[in-house]
Symmetry: C2
Subunit: 226 residues, 2 copies
Amino acid sequence: MPENRRNATRERILDTAETLFMAQGYEGTSMRQITGQAQVNLAAVNYHFGSKEELLQEVFRRRLKWLNDERLRVLDALEAEAGGHALKPSQIVDAFFGTLLRMAGDRKHGGPVFLRLLGRTLTEPSEFIRTFLADEYREVMERFKSALFKALPDVPRVEIVWRFHFMLGATSYAIAGTDTLRLVTDWHLDAAEADGGPERLLPRLMTFLLGGLRAPLPAGTGPGLP
Amino acid sequence: MPENRRNATRERILDTAETLFMAQGYEGTSMRQITGQAQVNLAAVNYHFGSKEELLQEVFRRRLKWLNDERLRVLDALEAEAGGHALKPSQIVDAFFGTLLRMAGDRKHGGPVFLRLLGRTLTEPSEFIRTFLADEYREVMERFKSALFKALPDVPRVEIVWRFHFMLGATSYAIAGTDTLRLVTDWHLDAAEADGGPERLLPRLMTFLLGGLRAPLPAGTGPGLP
DNA sequence: GTCTATATCATGATAGAC
DNA sequence: GTCTATCATGATATAGAC
């Protein structure tokens, strides 16, 4: 069973790398750590993926493919149901960010480990990571921006794009994990409240995001782009 | 002038390290890069700071000291002016996040370089960084949370803390730089619009943050903690 | 296909001359 | 205080045996 063993080794490397990159970052994780913990040979990474950079890309690709396909599937279903009418902003935001957060409960697709990795990687400085992520996200971004433009025809497009950006930031930070949350909590929240899992986080985040997305325009903001 | 030279070397190392950590991250930056670009000897970092970790901490300390003192100074002034009355949420949010963003125009205190570094570091996985930042932020966090609790007496404290967390995330991501912004833009915004500098960013961000902070409570949210 | 062994180089840190 | 020289370690990647 060479095919099975090949896949088993590949998947074990990917799973281990995902966990280590999440906990220590890309630069902070060595191939010796990955192969040691995955109990495969040091040369296996180069054999299966070519390089450490390509390993990282594959770690993201197998999860993002599923996530973004799912996002598009949900958006397609909503738009089909609406039959040409504009969607509600809350539907669009849930299709994008709700689908992401619900991944946390789905261990088959990475679960909380991948979510934290993704949140932490979005601000990673390495050029090749940002280029790669921008490519992976391009299609889904265009679809969701279009949906928001249609749902909010009176809001200048430039404002919608900025607010999408702010929503991404709030969400990334939230899924980057409870350790960073020590900055804010540490104090009035016990661990049970602070670490309530996705089912507590999602409604709170959605409320915040929609409040920001639908906030009245600030004074002095020009009209939309042509 | 041994004292002057000592300070000049120290400051040059700190400035160079700040820029490189911003562009490449902590793990991705070597002491050889830092000392080479700062045109000081390789041993100078260990002599002046002891280790690479302590260098990073000093890079942050000199900026965060000024930033957080300034935040507290603004908050003190607002509270003195209010004379015992609760502040408006917008005043508190501006004292915290506005003071941060206005640092971007102040090259004497790091300017945009430090802002991007800070935004990128808040999701950094290294344990010692997170512990260090949590310590540096503790006092200012407690003061601002208290001010928000007082300004929003009808909102459960746990909700305020969560929303503070979301605001931090949106802001971190926004100041982490326009490169990451390619994820969202790349498309309908020309560079001039997307990269409008802090004077464009601040009102947009404030509107978003306040919209999220003051959003109506979601259904099913329990009462505040005792 | 998988692994051993190794090539080649960069890293953070330090000892000791000046 | 600053520099040179060097240490010990760990990094990614690969050549070649099996």
